[in-house]
């Protein structure tokens, strides 16, 4: 079946099987390999993308379900490598990663989290960040620098 959606601002159409996962569509059909598959059981969050502005696990959705939707992957955050998103800069400056495998999902979860808290006029505390990261697993860092990065990224997003 043919599906059409907007990915990182561009309209894309491809033929896919009905059982194609959104993450496989993004990685294998569109060759956007920034979105990762970590666990296959919906727990790790390495595959998080934004669907119509909301963080979702692309390994737990069919590509065909996203027909007509607007999808943002980690590749869609920066306009160029010299013009990173404030959250990407924060992860870089705060050593928010070691191996980097979980990072795309962490950053997509983080930008969604900050956007939601800012829209609701709520302050994002360290406790909030740790709670919000429930669906993202990192096996390297022990989370401390990720939490620091998100806190710093939130300030940078406010001032940006």
């Amino acid at each position: 079946m043919k599906i059409t959606m907007t990915v990182n601002g561009k309209s894309v159409s491809r033929d896919v099987a009905g059982n194609t996962l959104l993450v496989d569509y993004i990685r294998d059909h569109l060759r956007l390999t920034g979105t990762h598959v970590g666990c296959d059981t919906s727990q790790c969050g390495a595959c998080v993308v934004h669907l119509d502005g909301k963080a979702m696990k692309s390994c737990t959705m069919l590509a065909a379900s996203a027909e007509g939707a607007s999808v943002t992957t980690v590749e869609g955050l920066a306009t160029s490598k010299d013009d990173l998103h404030p959250m990407q800069i924060a992860f870089k400056e705060n050593h928010g990663l070691q191996c980097g495998f979980c990072t795309p999902g962490m950053i997509m979860t983080a930008t969604d989290m900050v956007a939601r808290y800012q829209a609701a006029g709520k302050t994002l505390t360290e406790d909030d960040i740790r709670h919000e990261l429930e669906g993202n697993i990192c096996r390297c860092t022990g989370y401390h620098n990720i939490v620091k990065s998100i806190s710093d990224g939130a300030s940078k997003m406010t001032s940006a």
Binding site: G18, S42, M56, K57, L62, T109, G135, N136
Partner: protein, 263 residues
């Protein structure tokens, strides 16, 4: 994942018609259970009928003390709805603690109720709030809807369209989440209606799925307080024993969660 025929529909009636004509069709709501199940090849539907395009199935409407939540309303919307929080904050709190933020953006109340996972949160709310489950063909009282683990009164080609209930005078939900899955090891929803009748529903703990707890209801009917729970004997008969905890442990959790629900 096995091959399947994908259909996206605009209305629940269209989905019901497709269910009728497909060999072994499955409704896809938020898919936060169905997709992982299909990935593990534990489900092999010939047809997947996606309701995400059915706009009239999503949304929360409030008329006086009457609350109606569309079947496709995601958990995040229930958690963050200001009008609902003013009338029934306990269901907002419940929704805010299902899974993780990404799951809450996709998972739906209708999907949760139709699946009737024995450790899901929404069945406890629906049963304690004496909710009415609206479907493509009728309206079912929560007392008649849940028929045991992963089993409901829904017919093969019947689809939930909404759930409605009267705002309780008082309500609360206590949940002990499994640290890995976030599903309830025991979850207790307590509700007291404006007329004073008390209903207590327990999820996560029983071999037969969600159930009403008669002894807790009796105790809270005379004294709506956490201390009233102290005197209640919680039987471990029929409770789950698995690698996460045995029946006696879950019986104790029910007591503790009931007190937290009231606290």
């Amino acid at each position: 994942m096995y091959e399947t025929n994908f259909h996206k529909v605009a209305t629940a009636q269209e989905a019901a018609a497709l269910l009728n004509t497909s060999e072994d069709g499955k409704i896809l709501a938020g898919g936060q259970t169905l997709i992982p199940t299909m990935k593990q090849r534990l489900a092999n539907p010939t047809d997947v009928i996606d309701l995400s395009g059915a706009a009239d199935l999503s949304g929360i409407t409030i008329a006086g003390d009457q609350i109606t939540i569309g079947a496709m309303t995601p958990h995040a919307e229930v958690a963050g709805h200001a009008g609902l929080a003013a009338l029934c904050p306990s269901i907002c709190k419940l929704a805010a603690n299902i899974g993780d933020p990404a799951v809450r953006h996709r998972g739906t109340i209708g999907g949760s109720l139709a699946n009737n996972d024995p450790a899901a949160d929404y069945p406890a709310a629906a049963l304690a709030l004496n909710a009415r489950i609206h479907t493509t063909s009728r309206e079912i009282a929560a007392d008649d809807f849940f028929e045991g683990m992963f089993t409901t009164a829904l017919e093969e080609d019947e689809i939930i369209t909404a759930v409605s209930f009267t705002a309780p005078a008082k309500g609360g939900y206590g949940k002990f989440p499994n640290p890995a899955s976030r599903y309830a090891m025991a979850g207790v929803f307590v509700a007291k209606s404006a007329e004073g009748s008390v209903r207590v529903a327990v999820t996560g703990a029983s071999e037969d799925g969600v159930y009403r707890h008669d002894a807790l209801e009796a105790a809270l009917s005379t004294d709506w307080s956490a201390s009233a729970v102290d005197g209640v004997e919680i039987s471990s008969d029929g409770l789950l024993s698995d690698l996460h905890g045995n029946a006696e442990y879950r019986a104790n959790l029910i007591k503790v969660m009931a007190k937290r629900a009231l606290g």
